[in-house]
């Protein structure tokens, strides 16, 4: 038996899913989309239940990627039951989605979550009354306390049934549904979809468009809006029936501080900076620890083996790649994702989006784009995916440029490992400043020169709450898996190839070719430029390759401070890594990919040349 969890964003769906399924969850992209689906299995008294956590949505009839996915999932792979999760503190808005879901006629169990929070706000819900109105079982839960979660599965297995409620639409819509049924044999659901331009049958859509046009000219309102208003009215009536009168909530809300220009904006700056500094400091400490352990336990014993030279060269390359990979994955990427998940789950990120909205307008984006921009500090790949959810081509293009310029954790490793370690902490921070300035300049330039209108942000402020530690861990683990299982093998393969090339003298030959540009323009020894090029494979490989090629981990002894600084700036700026290029190509197309790559290469070498010219 299969069942799906459906609800508005941030109603505690993931937490319920987590408590139902425990560990052993499979994350997969729904075919043809970038939206993630979480699947898990559980057993209850001998029957197996497969649970799918669908993304949080506001409407079943919308046009965002998540909304389309939920719709196609329910129509194409109709589950045996759905668990509709409602937020007890926002019943009316949540009932709007429930009424849409009811039209699909799938057996359902209604879960009113966050009943504890509602009780604190003085909201009383008559769930028995709701159950009789809907004709489906209703369970009150508090997922953060684990209350009543155990009742969900038995209810799904024994008493889930299709909701017996139908939204009363205005006579014109009802007449349209009837005539579409008569003319094209459309069901009520199909007719409602068709009136809003959704569906696969072109005859039906065409017929519905004519009727919808008539309805619009008669009412001066689109069919979509009338249908929406009817549903809201119906939801309002049900809510008035089952939700008790509520005292105004006079408790202190952190939003009194967080969303004000002061102290909200300073708080935002402190939050972002402290995230960065934590990654920076804790990351380099842990990385050193990992490298030390490996040196003592693996590298030294390996060198003591005194194998044949080729085997030693390749073996060392593999070991160095593993050390470099683990030295980034756990200290930098994992710490960043942990912090990001915490900030996300508290609901603070939506406040950040609100505060940054106007600032982002200057860059041709809006507050919603702050989320991919912050994610990019961890890894550009998921950030590009998030950016491709923006609404217009203009926003997506600008975001693709800016996101790839944000220093991801691999680039943070270069900055800490090379500049902070051998030049100084302030020099390291100055690289962030340079990048920030370049991002702003690029954004302002693109905003002025890419045609297209500016769409704004419509964003629900997620309720502020304590993040669930287990959920944070799980989310971060899910995110770091991409790094471990996709990037690490690439890193290993790249290292072996590099080791072999170096052994057979190909790298030296290449260095000779690039020497004039490298030494003349950038003031860097030729092998350093070779290392830069390997950075395209994976950014941190630039660092690791540099160590391999210069034959020592103590880079300060072979290169000057300015040379190290130039190297770091160039490798931070120029060309996103191969995985980022691949994901931009998939999401945004060839033109944007070429433009982003060409722009960043030029920018990297120009700024590098400039630094050499000024300081060298």
């Amino acid at each position: 038996m299969r069942c799906a969890l459906i609800g508005n964003p941030s109603v505690g769906k993931s937490l319920i899913f987590n408590q139902l399924t425990g560990l052993g969850v499979e994350v997969s992209n729904y075919p043809g989309t970038t939206v993630e689906l979480m699947q898990g299995k559980l057993c209850h008294q001998g029957s197996t239940l497969q649970v799918v956590d669908l993304p949080g949505i506001y409407s079943m009839d919308g046009d965002s990627a998540e909304e389309e996915l939920v719709r196609t999932y329910l129509l194409a792979e109709t589950p045996d039951a759905v668990i509709a999760v409602l937020d007890a503190t926002r019943m009316e808005r949540n009932l709007y989605l429930l009424l849409q879901l009811a039209e699909y006629g799938i057996p359902m169990v209604v879960v009113i979550n966050m009943i504890d929070e509602a009780a604190q706000q003085g909201i009383i819900i008559d769930s028995r009354r709701l159950s009789s109105v809907l004709g489906a079982p209703v369970i009150e839960t508090a997922a953060s306390l684990g209350k009543n979660i155990g009742e969900i599965v038995p209810a799904v297995l024994s008493s889930a049934r299709p909701a017996a409620i139908a939204v009363p639409y205005t006579p014109q819509i009802e007449a349209a549904i009837r005539s579409l049924g008569k003319l094209y044999g459309a069901t009520r659901l199909q007719a409602l979809h068709a009136l809003q331009g959704i569906g696969t049958s072109s005859d039906l859509i065409e017929g519905a468009r004519t009727i919808a046009g008539e309805i619009e000219s008669l009412n001066h309102m689109s069919a979509h809006q009338i249908i929406g208003a009817n549903r809201h009215l119906c939801a309002h009536r049900i809510a008035a029936d089952v939700v008790g009168a509520q005292e105004p909530d006079r408790r202190f809300s952190a939003d009194r501080l967080l969303t004000k220009a002061f102290p909200g904006i300073p708080i935002l700056a402190v939050v972002l900076l402290s995230m960065l500094l934590t990654v920076f400091i804790a990351g380099s400490f842990l990385e050193e620890l990992i490298v030390d352990i490996f040196t003592v336990l693996v590298i030294e014993p390996f060198q003591a083996l005194s194998l044949p030279p080729l085997a030693t060269a390749l073996g060392m390359a593999v070991i160095l790649a593993i050390v470099a990979g683990l030295g980034i994955a756990f200290p930098f990427v994992l710490i960043f994702y942990l912090l990001l998940s915490i900030v996300e789950d508290t609901g603070y990120l939506t406040r950040a989006a609100f505060l940054a909205d106007r600032l982002m307008h200057g860059l041709g984006l809006h507050g919603g784009a702050i989320i991919p921009m912050v994610m990019a500090f961890g890894c550009n790949v998921p950030a590009v995916m998030a950016a491709s959810q923006l609404r217009t081509v203009r926003e997506r293009t600008i975001a693709a440029f800016l996101v790839t310029m944000v220093p991801c954790s691999a680039r943070t490793v270069i900055i800490t490992g090379i500049v902070a370690a051998f030049v100084g902490l302030w020099a390291a921070l100055s690289i962030y400043l340079i990048v920030l300035v370049l991002i702003v300049i690029t954004g302002v330039f693109l905003a002025r020169n890419i045609p297209g209108g500016q769409y704004g942000m419509i964003l629900e402020m997620a309720p502020l709450r304590m993040p669930d530690p287990l959920l944070v861990l799980k989310k971060s683990w899910g995110r770091i898996q991409e790094f471990l299982f996709i990037a690490m093998p690439l890193l290993l393969a790249g290292s072996v190839v590099l080791g072999a090339l170096d052994y057979y003298g190909v790298v030296d030959a290449f260095s000779l070719i690039v020497a004039p540009v490298s030494e003349g323009f950038l003031g860097l020894p030729a092998y350093v430029t070779t290392a830069l090029l390997f950075g395209i494979l994976r950014k941190e490989m630039a660092f690791e390759t540099l160590a391999v090629l210069s034959g020592t981990a103590d880079l300060g002894s072979v290169l000057t401070g300015v040379q190290l600084y130039t190297f770091a700036v160039i490798s931070v700026l120029f060309v996103p890594c191969i995985s980022t290029i691949a994901v931009i190509l998939r999401q945004m197309g060839m033109r944007v990919t070429l433009a982003v790559s060409a722009y960043t290469i030029t920018l990297g070498f120009l700024i590098g040349g400039l630094i050499h010219f000024i300081a060298g």
């Binding site: 506001y58 409407s59 919308g62 046009d63 965002s64 503190t89 926002r90 019943m91 009316e92 808005r93 709007y96 000219s217 009412n219 001066h220 309102m221 689109s222 979509h224 809006q225 929406g228 208003a229 809201h232 939003d255 969303t259 004000k260 220009a261 939506t350 989006a353 609100f354 505060l355 909205d357 106007r358 307008h361 809006h366 507050g367 500016q454 769409y455 704004g456 942000m457 419509i458 964003l459 629900e460 402020m461």
Partner: protein
């Protein structure tokens, strides 16, 4: 003499329609002559022409509209009413002057312009407009302050921002402005949830204060 002036023709039809609605039955020639602002000879010629065209029937007590005549008359009358309403209620003109002005404009204005004007006056989802004699203007959300309780009256280009509908931001809904930054980004509370809006979105939402 053939009636060449189409506005007098339309005025005649309109006069017959209003007088029929007021008194019932046929309309005497004297009534039409009094209602239409033109030469007696011209009006009579027009009436004869209308009878010849079949728009008006003549019986022993006076004139009656045919189906075709009634259709034209109703269209003209609607134009008159829409224009009068616009001039009086939205532009704040005196009622008598507005009616006179409407009498002139009604003959020239296109069907499309009248449809749009009518829609503009009635405003989607708001039913018949309340009378506020020209003082009532449209206010976007940006013109209100933090803490104001408002009722949404209209949203421009709603089809472009469908999410607003799904979040419950529709005409008739009551909302509170929770936060307004110096840069016009705002947070509104609707149906128990806080929604952040960019200035350009907020400027398409119109509202009036709830007293």
């Amino acid at each position: 003499m053939e009636c060449m002036n189409s506005s007098v023709r339309e005025d005649c039809l309109e006069a017959i329609l209003t007088l029929t609605q007021a008194n019932g039955g046929s309309v005497a020639a004297e009534g039409i002559l009094a209602a239409v602002d033109a030469d007696r000879a011209e009006v009579e010629a027009c009436l004869a022409g209308l009878v010849a065209d079949g728009a008006v029937r003549k019986d022993d007590r006076g004139y009656l509209l045919s189906t075709e005549g009634k259709r034209i008359a109703e269209a003209v009358l609607r134009k008159h009413r829409v224009l009068e309403c616009f001039l009086c209620e939205m532009l704040g003109m005196d009622t008598g002057a507005a009616s006179k002005e409407a009498c002139v404009l009604e003959h020239e204005i296109s069907d499309e312009a009248i449809d749009r004007l009518s829609r503009y006056i009635e405003r989607p989802g708001h039913g018949p407009r309340r009378h506020c004699a020209g003082r009532c203007r449209e206010h976007s959300l940006l013109e209100f302050a933090e803490g104001d309780l408002l009722e949404i009256t209209m949203i421009r280009c709603l089809s472009r921002n469908r999410r607003l509908i799904d979040l419950g931001l529709i005409p008739g809904e009551q909302i509170t402005i929770r936060r307004k930054l110096y840069n016009d980004a705002i947070v509104v509370r609707v149906k128990g949830a806080d929604i952040a809006l960019s200035p350009e979105i907020a400027s398409t939402i119109f509202a009036e204060p709830v007293r």
